[in-house]
Each structure stands twice: as structure tokens, then as C-alpha cells.
């Protein structure tokens, strides 16, 4: 299994999700549609998981080196987060957004075909590699979800009436996402000590990861102090995701980051 098979797998996944979302969204009228809808969504996630596992086996290394490979994990975790959130809090709109965003990332991967590359540089051969990337991708999925909620909140503030439960959902996602972001950052620090001699070197990726972390930290403190104020935290949360994206993708294109130890392939 490798990237040649990606289009067919990706198509199967996206079709499953479209059918699933459609069935779940018509379920208020047709009750029977909800369960099959859920099964389609989960099937899509499982197909993607199978692709990831087969790719891992075929490449003989964790498929987490290039941006395209991390996008794939992201497209896997986001629906997982979306599905759990939907089960837990019954937000149907949220599931469709999560699946939509995941599909978008899968289409980006399809438009930028990955090349097949087995090599893994010595710096990445470490037991920290897999937990560091997985924890980060899971955090990114949760925080992307929180920003989606924030955008919905902003829409409510300006065009309809703001519902406190929207912000509460955002808070829950941020808290869990932030705990994973912290784990990712600290795993990275512990790994850096093993690989490069120091736990913190202000590498551009580190700097931007730290900035991302600080942004969410500000959001959490703000919410704690004035829980009734909504506009500012909603904006902070929407913009925090922009910083996150710079950290994830933007870095590879920054001239100051050409010597970064985190640039392992730009596709």
C-alpha cells in the first residue's frame, strides 16, 4: 500500500462521510437514518486508519515525516474528535464541519501527490517521534474544532443571538486540546535534549509552537476572569488557529526557518 492507492482510498473515505453526514442530517425527519449514518461515518474513519497502517508497514517507518503525512493523521483525528463531540454533546453541525475540514485536507493531499520515500533521517529515529507527532496532531484537531466553534459563536454574536453553550463547548475543546498541546511541547523538549543537547533552542518551529501555546493560555485565563464577556475570547480563539497554522505549515516557507531542524520535506 502506498501513495499510488491514495486516490481510491481517499475517495472511498470522503464518499462514506458524505453519505453519513447526509443521513445524520435528515435524521430529525427520518429517525431510522441516524444509525446507518453513524456507521458510514465510522466506516470512513476506519478505512483511513487502514490506509495509515498499511502505509506505515509499506514505508517501514512511521508515516509522520512530511507535511502531507501529518495532514493525513490530522484528517484522521479530526473526524474522531468530531464524532466523539457529536456523541457526547449531540452537535450534528459540528460533525459535518469536522468531516468537511478533514475532507478538505485529504483533497489537498490528493492535489499535492506525495512521493514515496522510505528514508528516515537519524535525527527522527527516536522513541519520541511517534508520541510527539500523534499528540500534536490530536491537539491540532481539537483546537481546529474549537476555532470552528468560535467562528460559529462570532456568527451568532453579529447576526443572531449568542448562546453561552457555544462558548462552553469551545472551552471544553480548548482545555483538552491544550493539555495535548502541552504534552506535545514537553515531549518535544525532552526529545530535543536527547537529540540536540538542549531542551530549548528557539528553533523557529519551537518559537511558533510556543506562541501557539501562549495564545491558548491567554484565552483560558481571559475566560476564567470574565466568563460573561464573549466577543474578545471568540476573536482570540479564531486568531489562535491562524498562529497554529503558521506553526504547522507557514514555517516551511519562512526564510528565517531554512535552518530549522523541523523542515523534513515541504509537500
Amino acid at each position: 500500500m502506498n501513495w499510488i492507492n491514495y486516490p481510491s482510498f481517499g475517495l472511498a473515505v470522503i464518499i462514506c462521510w458524505i453519505i453519513g453526514v447526509f443521513m445524520i442530517s435528515i435524521s430529525p425527519k427520518i429517525k431510522k437514518a441516524e444509525w446507518p449514518g453513524r456507521i458510514f461515518v465510522v466506516t470512513g474513519i476506519i478505512i483511513l486508519m487502514v490506509f495509515l497502517i498499511l502505509l506505515w508497514i509499506r514505508l517501514e517507518r512511521p508515516p509522520m515525516r512530511t507535511l502531507g503525512e501529518t495532514r493525513l493523521w490530522y484528517s484522521f483525528f479530526l473526524p474522531v474528535v468530531g464524532y466523539i463531540t457529536y456523541l457526547r454533546w449531540r452537535y450534528k453541525w459540528f460533525l459535518s464541519y469536522a468531516l468537511g475540514l478533514a475532507s478538505l485536507f485529504m483533497i489537498i493531499n490528493w492535489l499535492h501527490p506525495e512521493t514515496y520515500d522510505k528514508t528516515l533521517m537519524p535525527a527522527l529515529q527516536s522513541p519520541w517521534f511517534v508520541p510527539h507527532v500523534i499528540v500534536y496532531m490530536f491537539a491540532y484537531a481539537l483546537l481546529a474544532a474549537s476555532s470552528l466553534v468560535a467562528l460559529k459563536g462570532l456568527y451568532q454574536v453579529y447576526y443572531s443571538s449568542m448562546n453561552q453553550s457555544t462558548l462552553r463547548l469551545a472551552d471544553n475543546l480548548v482545555y483538552i486540546g491544550f493539555s495535548f498541546l502541552t504534552l506535545g511541547l514537553l515531549f518535544g523538549a525532552l526529545w530535543a535534549k536527547e537529540a540536540w543537547g538542549h531542551y530549548w533552542t528557539w528553533d523557529p518551529k519551537e518559537t511558533w509552537a510556543f506562541l501557539t501555546w501562549l495564545n491558548y493560555l491567554i484565552y483560558m485565563h481571559f475566560r476564567k476572569f470574565q466568563p460573561k464577556k464573549v466577543k474578545i475570547p471568540l476573536w482570540v480563539l479564531s486568531l489562535a488557529f491562524v498562529v497554529l497554522l503558521i506553526c504547522w505549515f507557514g514555517i516551511n516557507y519562512l526564510p528565517s526557518a531554512q535552518n530549522s531542524v523541523h523542515v523534513y520535506g515541504t509537500d
Binding site: 535525527a123 472551552d171 543537547g197 538542549h198 506562541l211 501562549l214
Partner: protein, 415 residues
């Protein structure tokens, strides 16, 4: 937005966001003034034992303030969330500059140079920002720890962990030694290393290099389009692996690897296996053009400092090349003499060796010689404050786990 309380004048207690951010502004200006006064030398940094004394004084000061003045509105403000947010924002602002402006090069716009924005890491602004953050955070920790209960555990893990990491990393940075040691396979035991400013330093142990070697992945073979200068891509592959016996359809060609020699020397249009230093990988490839059915068989090599590279002209537009093999592993076998005993150990990337508080890392080698390098370069790091930083990091890890398990308590309370 509705006004939430009676309007009060600026600087009238209790202070809120406005005062917090005005104070930040003053602290930033203070930092800039120090930068100008010290003429771009920045914050000199503090070393042992001054850093320990500073740390203890800071702790004593925070405890005293907490014990004596905890009910004073200024101290109340300093341990409030607006002060915390202003402190984090101040720090964020500096990190943002660090993330955007190239660091380390003083040949920048005069304004950037005078304000010290090109060396944020050792600027007065960062030192002041850290001090402000540590004071505020310290007071918060003391305020919350006066009521020790289960609900506070997560809070204290996160906040105290952060305090310890910031304080220990900041105060300890002056004591970190990063040295490089260059070893040659013939040079015997060496106990000196080079500091950052080329100062020579003696180490309490000595090291002898037995063998340095690089394991390489099988070299890749690709086809370059001479118009674009780039490798052509075929079904998601831009190369084929030089495995002996493999037959691959690639674009218009059927490529068969007839022979692969890992270490070869060229000898009148032939390549023969050799153990000579500088030998390069070579393959004998059989290429059939599927359009014209023309078959050629030629040698291909990426070359080395000794062997010239050899490519194959496929047609007017395409040439076949061998890419330089990528390293799979760098490894140095060394003997370490600690004075009491000798140990034979292997050092690899991601696998440092610890002796007497020093960590030895595989850093580099003689890149000109590639895998035939007989030189290995190590980085030797001593960070006496590392244990304390790790205590903080593990508290933060526990705190993160706590947040994940318990989640956000507050949102459950607000209606």
C-alpha cells in the same frame, strides 16, 4: 458590551486590564532604556553562584510580600488574572518578535539594533518580562496553596511547574557549557574540548575514537528532465531504489538493475569492488526505451571525493543519475576513560552518553569524506540546572494529564 461595575478612574484600586497593560508598556520602555544604556551588549546573564543567590532572593521576596502585604490592593492586583494576562502577553510579544525578526545578526536596521530586538534571548526586555511573570506567578501560587485541597492540585502542578521551568531555565542558562570535541581515529585519548569562543577547556574524562561509520540507505536512481532540472515523477515515485535484480517500469523506460556494488572504483569504463577509502556506490543498469525499443547497458555512479560521478544520457531531454545515498545512521565507537575505569561505548544521534554530568552527543564528521570520514565531532553539554528544569517539566506533564482528565471545572459552574 454592558459596563459591569461602577466606573473608576485609571490607577484607582482595584486595578484591571487597563493598569496592567500600562504597566507592561512601562516595563517595555524600561527594558529599551537599559538596552540603550548598555549599548547593545544586552543582559549580561548571571552565573554561578550569583544565579542561585538571585533565585533564592526572589523566592524569599515573593514569600515576604505574600506574608506581609497579601491584602494590599497592589499585591492583590499582582496576583490577579489581568496581571497574569498582561505578563503572558508581554512574554508573547517578545516571542513574537523572536519569531519574526532574524536573530543574532547585529547588522540590522538601527532601531532594531538599538532596542536590542535582534537578540531577544539575552535582552533586558526578556529579563524584565521574566521577572514580572515570575513575581506575579509566584504570588498566585502562594495565594492558592494556602488552601491545599484536591481541586488545587492540578492548578498548583501547572503553575508551580511553569514557575520552576522558567526560573531554572532562565537562571541556569548562564551555567550551561556547550563544547565541541573533534576526534580522529588515530589521535588517541583526548581530554580537551573547545568552547563557543574557541576557548580550550579541560574535561574530567578523556575519549578515544576507535571507529566512526555511517550506514547508508540504498542509493536512489532518478531521471532528470534537462529542461526543468528536476526529477521526473512516475506514479508517485521520483526514483527507483538501486536493488540488484529489480526491474521497474518508469515512464517510457524499463529499467533493470543488473549489478549493484556498494563500494566501487572506476577502472577504464568498468567499476570494480574495492575497499579503498573514497570508493563510491555504482550500478550496472540495463535500460530499454519502450517507445523505440533501443536497449543500452551502462554504469551509473553518484561518485565521491575520489570517484567522479557518472550519469547516463537517455535521450536529448533526459539523463539518469544516481542520488547521493542518504545516511541511515551515524555511529562512533569510543573508549571513555573516567580516571577510575575505561568503558567502550557507541554514540549515535539520539543516543548520547552521560558521564560525570556531561552529555556526549554525535554532532558531525568530516563531510568532505562522507562515509569514509575518520573524524567524528562530538558536542559535550553540561547543564547543572537540568534536574530542576525536569522537575518542573514533569509537574507540567502531570498538570496536563490533570486538565485532560478533569477538564475545565469553571464552565460547569457558570450558567
Amino acid at each position: 458590551m454592558k459596563p459591569e461595575r461602577v466606573k473608576r478612574k485609571t490607577w484607582q484600586y482595584p486595578w484591571g486590564y487597563k493598569e496592567s497593560f500600562l504597566i507592561i508598556l512601562e516595563l517595555v520602555l524600561l527594558g529599551f532604556i537599559f538596552e540603550v544604556l548598555t549599548k547593545g551588549r544586552g543582559f549580561p546573564g548571571i552565573h554561578w553562584p550569583a544565579n542561585l543567590v538571585t533565585g533564592l532572593l526572589l523566592i524569599a521576596l515573593i514569600i515576604l510580600i505574600h506574608l506581609l502585604f497579601r491584602n494590599h490592593p497592589f499585591v492583590k492586583w499582582l496576583s490577579s488574572i489581568p496581571a497574569a494576562i498582561s505578563a503572558i502577553s508581554f512574554y508573547t510579544f517578545l516571542v513574537l518578535i523572536l519569531g519574526f525578526l532574524p536573530q543574532g545578526n547585529p547588522h540590522v536596521h538601527p532601531v532594531i539594533r538599538i532596542l536590542g530586538l535582534y537578540h531577544i534571548q539575552n535582552s533586558w526586555t526578556l529579563a524584565i518580562s521574566s521577572l514580572y511573570l515570575l513575581t506575579s506567578l509566584g504570588l498566585v501560587i502562594l495565594r492558592r496553596s494556602s488552601a491545599l485541597n484536591r481541586k488545587n492540585i492540578g492548578f498548583l502542578m501547572n503553575h508551580a511547574g511553569m514557575w520552576i521551568v522558567l526560573a531554572a531555565a532562565g537562571l541556569g542558562s548562564g551555567d550551561i557549557q556547550r563544547l565541541t570535541m573533534e576526534l580522529h581515529e588515530d589521535s588517541g585519548f583526548i581530554n580537551i574540548a573547545m568552547g563557543q569562543s574557541r576557548t580550550v577547556q579541560e574535561l574530567p574524562f578523556s575519549v578515544k575514537l576507535i571507529d566512526f561509520h555511517i550506514d547508508e540507505y540504498t542509493p536512489k536512481i532518478g531521471i532528470v528532465d534537462r529542461n526543468t532540472g528536476e526529477l521526473i515523477s512516475h506514479k508517485g515515485f521520483t526514483y527507483i531504489s538501486a536493488e540488484e535484480g529489480d526491474i521497474t517500469e518508469f515512464d517510457n523506460w524499463t529499467i533493470r538493475i543488473n549489478r549493484f556494488i556498494e563500494n566501487a572504483l572506476d577502472d577504464s569504463a568498468q567499476y570494480i569492488p574495492s575497499d579503498t577509502h573514497g570508493a563510491a556506490p555504482a550500478v550496472l543498469v540495463n535500460i530499454q526505451n519502450n517507445v523505440t525499443s533501443v536497449v543500452i547497458e551502462e554504469w551509473l555512479s553518484c561518485g565521491s571525493y575520489l570517484v567522479p560521478a557518472k550519469y547516463i544520457q537517455l535521450d536529448n531531454q533526459h539523463i539518469m543519475i544516481m542520488l547521493n545515498p542518504e545516511a541511515e545512521r551515524y555511529r562512533s565507537d569510543i573508549v571513555i576513560d573516567s580516571g577510575q575505569k575505561q568503558d567502550t561505548v557507541a554514540i549515535e544521534v539520539n543516543k548520547p552518553y552521560n558521564i560525570k554530568g556531561y552529555n556526549i552527543y554525535q554532532l558531525s564528521y568530516d563531510e568532505r569524506m562522507g562515509k569514509w570520514s575518520k573524524t567524528s565531532i562530538f558536542e559535550i553539554v553540561k547543564d547543572p540546572w537540568l534536574t530542576i528544569v525536569y522537575v518542573g517539566i514533569f509537574m507540567l506533564l502531570a498538570g496536563a494529564a490533570y486538565i485532560f482528565l478533569i477538564g475545565n471545572e469553571q464552565t460547569k459552574e457558570i450558567k
